[in-house]
Structure formats: structure tokens, C-alpha cells
């Protein structure tokens, strides 16, 4: 079982829709999570990070962590064509005194005008 799993998509939604992107993880060690956005032919850029269970909001983006079910989500409200990209979830855990970062495979999102 992969440490972090994502549905690769692609996910197509109309402009203005609410988008839900999800990841599951398998390890229960102390850890926290990040969401990255990657446009085609570009490097990933950090969107949000969350340390604990519950919600964290930043503009149109909300990150949610449910540690009991090992499920993390990113919601995008009022989606725009410019949100079309691949979204990567990443789990960060302390390993031997350093942060170990494990990425999911990414979900490709297309927002149709």
C-alpha cells in the first residue's frame, strides 16, 4: 500500500463549481500535510499546509484533515479556469530528526469556462 494515495483524475468541472480533491494515507505516525499546485511544465508551488485535524481556510481554498479516517481534502470554491493544474498532496513526518516528504501521485483538475 502506498503511503499517500490520490485519484489521478482527470477531474473536469465547470467554472464556478466547488472542487473536492482527496488523499488517503496509511501511516499513523505524527505528521502533517501540505497541498501543492503544479501547472504544466512548472515546478510545484505550495498552496497550504495543515498540522492538525480540522479545517484551515485561505481565500477560496480550504484544507481539511480527518486523522481518524486518515483522509485529507482540499476544497476550492468558485473554481476558475486558472485553477486548472495538477494538485499534489504531501505528507511530512519526522524521520531520524529530519522531515521526510512523501507526495501523492497528484490529481489533474480542469476547470471549463
Amino acid at each position: 500500500q502506498k503511503e499517500v494515495e490520490q485519484d489521478p483524475g482527470p477531474l473536469s468541472v465547470p467554472e464556478g463549481a466547488i472542487v473536492s480533491l482527496n488523499c488517503t494515507y496509511s501511516n499513523s505516525a505524527f505528521q502533517y500535510f501540505m497541498w501543492y499546485r503544479q501547472y504544466s511544465r512548472k515546478g510545484p508551488e505550495l498552496l497550504m499546509y495543515t498540522y492538525s485535524s480540522g479545517n484551515k481556510e485561505d481565500g477560496r481554498f480550504t484544507a481539511q484533515v480527518d486523522k481518524s479516517s486518515k483522509y485529507i481534502s482540499l476544497f476550492i470554491r468558485d473554481s476558475q479556469p486558472s485553477d486548472s493544474a495538477t494538485y499534489l498532496c504531501a505528507r511530512i513526518e519526522n524521520s531520524g530528526g529530519y522531515q521526510k516528504v512523501t507526495f501523492g501521485t497528484g490529481t489533474k483538475l480542469q476547470v471549463i469556462p
Binding site: 512548472k42 510545484p44 504531501a90 529530519y98 522531515q99 507526495f103 497528484g106
Partner: protein, 112 residues
């Protein structure tokens, strides 16, 4: 403020050859991590350099090696290239033990 830069942008090599990729970290950052991203996959951690030493390493063979210079810039070297080494190679920089990494645009390596 310059972000993370990588060179070259694209590279084509043949099997068995050796390649060197370069990375300049974001201004003020002292830690450089390298990732391999195959098509349709998430980035896979190769190794991390801090104070000119390899601090941690992912599950990659010894054909993958690196170096960090006193100005914090870094190189990734891959020997005896295989077709499966074709991927986007990403460099990410951070400050010390921070988990907030800033990625460069990557170098796309094609092995024929």
C-alpha cells in the same frame, strides 16, 4: 528576489551516458533537495544537501549522486543512464530544517 533556478531546461542523452543537472536555491536558503518526477507521478525524493553534505537520501541507487557548493548551489549527477531515468528533475530549496520548500521549474531529462 530570484526564486529557485535550474539548468538546463531540457536535456537529451543516450543510455549509458552521464548527466549533471544544476540548481541555485532561493536567496537566503541553505538546504537543497532533489526530486525525480516521472510522467503522471508525484515527485520522489532523491536526496537532500545541507552544509555541503548529504543529509538524507531516498530509495535511489548510487548512480545518483550530488554535491553542494559553499554558495549553497547544488548539482545532481546521474551515471550510466537508463531509459527509466527519463523524468522531470526538480530541485527544492528551504532554510535549515524548515519543511517549507520552494521548487524550481525542473529539468526535463529524456534518455534515448
Amino acid at each position: 528576489d530570484a526564486g529557485v533556478t535550474q539548468s538546463p531546461t531540457h536535456l537529451i542523452k543516450t543510455r549509458g551516458q552521464q548527466v549533471t543537472l544544476r540548481c541555485s536555491p532561493k536567496s537566503g536558503h541553505d538546504t537543497v533537495s532533489w526530486y525525480q518526477q516521472a510522467l503522471g507521478q508525484g515527485p520522489q525524493f532523491i536526496f537532500q544537501y545541507y552544509e555541503e553534505e548529504e543529509r538524507q537520501r531516498g530509495n535511489f541507487p548510487d548512480r545518483f549522486s550530488g554535491h553542494q557548493y559553499p554558495n549553497y548551489s547544488s548539482e545532481l549527477n546521474v551515471n550510466a543512464l537508463l531509459l527509466g531515468d527519463s523524468a522531470l528533475y526538480l530541485c527544492a530549496s528551504s532554510l535549515g530544517g524548515s519543511d517549507t520548500q520552494y521548487f524550481g521549474p525542473g529539468t526535463r531529462l529524456t534518455v534515448l
